[in-house]
């Protein structure tokens, strides 16, 4: 299975590195288009969250593909003390499938079982699948892979206790707030950025009684929209200094490329120091709050990496569900593998049947040439007999071939069928197994049929 994933995650790189290697939506699309134009890669999805930046690729036909991907990260890593490669992980083959299933289910998250990653995987997939106006960057394999991954994530959350307890970024923020303020009633919250994650966190805090929401965003209209939804008040980002003294909790999640809350701005807001505790949750990548702000008296500043320290207990609670989640992943991984294998066997079966049909037609023609006394009804019966005989003869080999592929040892079988039936190794048409996309919409511009090519370097190369 010539599929690969390359990237950085919270397992391999600290936040300072991950924030450098993050891709905005437009960056991601541009990078993937560049990648496709430089290599033989036909399908690609880039998943960029605060905990990971991962590029999924298909097909990966040689080392030059991997080098091209690594160069994408290397461009982002300019200025780092160590080279990008030292932070990258790299998987190839079937382990990529298991990896993505685990990512989607939240098993690979900093907070095990967290729900946000499911939406982030969906967004990344939809971005690559195209909007209709832009060419799609996915094809049958990554479409199937990501759709299955999203289904796996949903199934695991529904059937196991992986998402029980308070182990999401939002609930961790609530726990921190509780440990500082005790009761959260009447506490005021300031949101920097109008993103969905911030909204989720505010909703979680509002359930605990937090009131008085202020929203500051570079685009004022978006701040107003979010403030209206949260029954709060919008302020222009330029007036952030006025809003700071009113806040007990600050949630920062803007997409700004530089810190929004600097030490200087903080000192301007609190010229005589802060009198009450202030909790700052900075989940933005790159960070929105300068680290020095956290040194101020009464300020408790947490970025995404700091949250890792809180999750240990939650991981322990949720770890009991991991075996069950892995069983689901195993099942769905086998299904995916069967589907993928079927992509190879279907063209072979089709060629086998086409070839048999040619022989049948030729033999019938010869027969009818020597039996010119047959009336049309009799000719029809003979033709029907030949068709049924052919189907009977091909039925068992077809079924056994499919079953053999489903068991995972079908490559040799396919080769044997090719040899026995004299089928050339060519696939002029795409396989029929593209159910989700093929049923709903035509192939988009830029999509090409996959050419399954075996890569000798299967397995984890991490």
């Amino acid at each position: 299975m010539p599929i690969a994933v390359v990237g950085v995650s919270h397992h391999t790189a600290p936040v300072e590195v991950r924030e450098r290697m993050a891709f905005s939506d437009s960056d991601a699309a541009r990078a993937l288009m560049t990648l496709r134009s430089r290599t033989g890669i036909e399908e690609a999805v880039l998943l960029s969250t605060c905990n990971r930046t991962e590029v999924y690729l298909y097909p990966v036909l040689g080392p030059e593909c991997m080098q091209a991907v690594q160069s994408l990260f290397a461009e982002k890593a300019v200025g780092l003390e160590r080279s990008a490669e030292e932070y990258l992980f790299h998987r190839e083959g079937e382990s990529v499938v298991r990896h993505l299933f685990g990512v989607s289910a939240g098993l690979d998250s900093m907070v095990t079982g967290e729900a946000e990653i499911q939406g982030q995987v969906r967004e990344a997939y939809h971005r690559s699948a195209g909007t209709g106006e832009e060419p799609a960057l996915t094809g049958p394999v990554l479409n199937r892979l990501f759709q299955t991954a999203l289904a796996v994530g949903g199934q695991i959350r529904a059937e196991t206790s992986i998402n029980e307890g308070t182990a999401s970024v939002a609930s961790v923020a609530v726990e921190l707030a509780r440990k500082i303020f005790g009761q959260l009633r009447e506490k005021r919250i300031l949101i920097l950025g109008a993103g969905a994650t911030a909204e989720l966190m505010v909703e979680a805090l509002a359930r605990e009684g937090v009131r008085g929401v202020l929203v500051a965003n570079r685009t004022y209209s978006r701040a107003e929209d979010l403030a209206e939804r949260l029954e709060g008040r919008a302020i222009p980002i330029e007036r952030l200094t006025d809003g700071l003294p009113q806040a007990d909790i600050i949630l920062a999640s803007t997409a700004a490329p530089h810190p929004v809350l600097t030490g200087q701005r903080f000192r301007e807001a609190f010229p005589n120091g802060r009198h009450r505790p202030l909790l700052i949750i900075d989940i933005a990548i790159p960070r929105d709050v300068e680290p020095g702000v956290g040194d101020a008296d009464g300020v408790f500043l947490y970025n995404v990496d700091d949250l890792r320290k809180i999750v240990d207990e939650h991981v322990e609670l949720r770890s009991e569900a991991i075996p069950a989640a892995n069983r689901i992943i195993d099942d769905r991984w086998r299904e995916f593998r069967s589907w993928y294998a079927s992509r190879e066997v279907v063209p072979v079966i089709r060629r086998m049947r086409e070839q048999a049909e040619v022989h049948r037609a030729a033999e019938l023609e010869r027969l009818f040439g020597s039996l010119d006394t047959l009336d049309p009804e009799e000719r029809g019966r003979v033709e029907e007999f030949s068709r049924r005989l052919l189907n009977k003869l091909l039925h068992d080999p077809t079924v056994r071939l499919r079953k053999g592929m489903a068991r995972g040892g079908g490559a040799e079988l396919v080769d044997a069928v090719r040899f026995l039936y004299g089928i050339e190794d060519r696939q002029s048409s795409p396989p029929h197994t593209e159910p989700e996309r093929a049923d709903r919409e035509p192939r988009r511009q830029g999509e090409r049929a996959p050419r399954p090519t075996r890569n000798p370097q299967h397995g984890v190369v991490e």
Binding site: R178, F181, Q183, F300
Partner: protein, 269 residues
């Protein structure tokens, strides 16, 4: 014997809190620890009642009896925290003081003092009781303060381990500290006022050379210092916690110093 049972229950409650600190505190465990502490206070009250019945006087005079009563007041302060969410966990810092007081009392012997006390009657009972509440208020402020400082350190250093999970919220600890200091200050002021009134009425002037008076006045000024630390600008909660911890340490050290130097074998606690 009843005192021993109360002592064991206090130790048991403290051990449970330590267990929950180390192993985590889920479910009904903390409630059980609070119940054990409550049972200890009830048994302690029975022990003091037994003393009253047996000797015909309240256990306020003599080091053993006075220390036991002081420990009992600490137990009452702990019980008062139970309605506040997670606040009873302050017991992990308060119970050692209570247990040590009771332990020393049992070693010294919980029995009436052979010495005669001039100051008697309701005024004396109120004087000593107010003083005990005053000192236990300071002990409560100390316990809340030390936990506040640990929790603050956990939050600042982002370690967020066992202590973070176990220790109550900063706001709760600050509230306990404030209540402890203000209640303690009020009680000690009343105790000093009653003592001053009796002394000036019966002996003409306040005996400032008496170690009891020195210690009481020092304690009162420490209360004032803690209250001052809690006022003004900046992080008053943090300063208040720090001041309570230092203040309590100074009060204990000064007691020991006075007891060992000029206290002698008198009725100084």
């Amino acid at each position: 014997m009843i005192h021993l049972l109360a002592f064991l229950l206090y130790v048991g409650a403290f051990s449970l809190w330590i267990h929950f600190l180390v192993k985590g505190s889920r479910g009904e465990g903390p409630t059980f620890a609070s119940a054990i502490a409550g049972a200890a206070v009830v048994v302690h009250a029975i022990a003091l009642g037994d003393y009253w019945i047996r000797y015909g006087e309240l256990p306020l005079v003599g080091p053993g009896a006075a220390l036991s009563s002081l420990a009992f007041v600490g137990g009452l302060a702990l019980l008062a925290t139970i309605p506040l969410r997670e606040a009873a966990r302050v017991g992990i810092a308060l119970l050692p003081f209570i247990t040590i007081c009771l332990g020393i009392a049992m070693i010294l012997g919980i029995e009436p003092s052979p010495l005669t006390v001039d100051f008697q009657g309701v005024g004396f009972v109120l004087h000593v009781t107010f003083a005990f509440f005053g000192y236990q208020g300071l002990a409560l402020a100390f316990a809340a303060g030390i936990l506040y400082l640990i929790q603050h350190h956990e939050l600042k250093s982002k370690r967020l381990g066992r202590f973070f999970r176990f220790i109550p919220p900063l706001a709760t600890l600050d509230l306990l500290g404030r209540v402890g200091v203000w209640a303690g200050f009020a009680m000690l002021s009343l105790a000093l006022g009653l003592g001053w009134a009796w002394t000036t009425a019966n002996r003409g002037s306040l005996e400032v050379g008496d170690p009891k008076v020195i210690w009481a006045l020092l304690s009162w000024f420490i209360f004032v210092a803690i209250i001052v630390a809690r006022r003004g600008s900046g992080r008053t909660d943090y300063r208040g916690a720090m001041a309570a911890v230092i203040g309590f340490a100074v009060v204990i050290c000064s007691y020991l110093a006075l007891r060992l130097t000029v206290g002698g074998a008198g009725l100084f606690l």
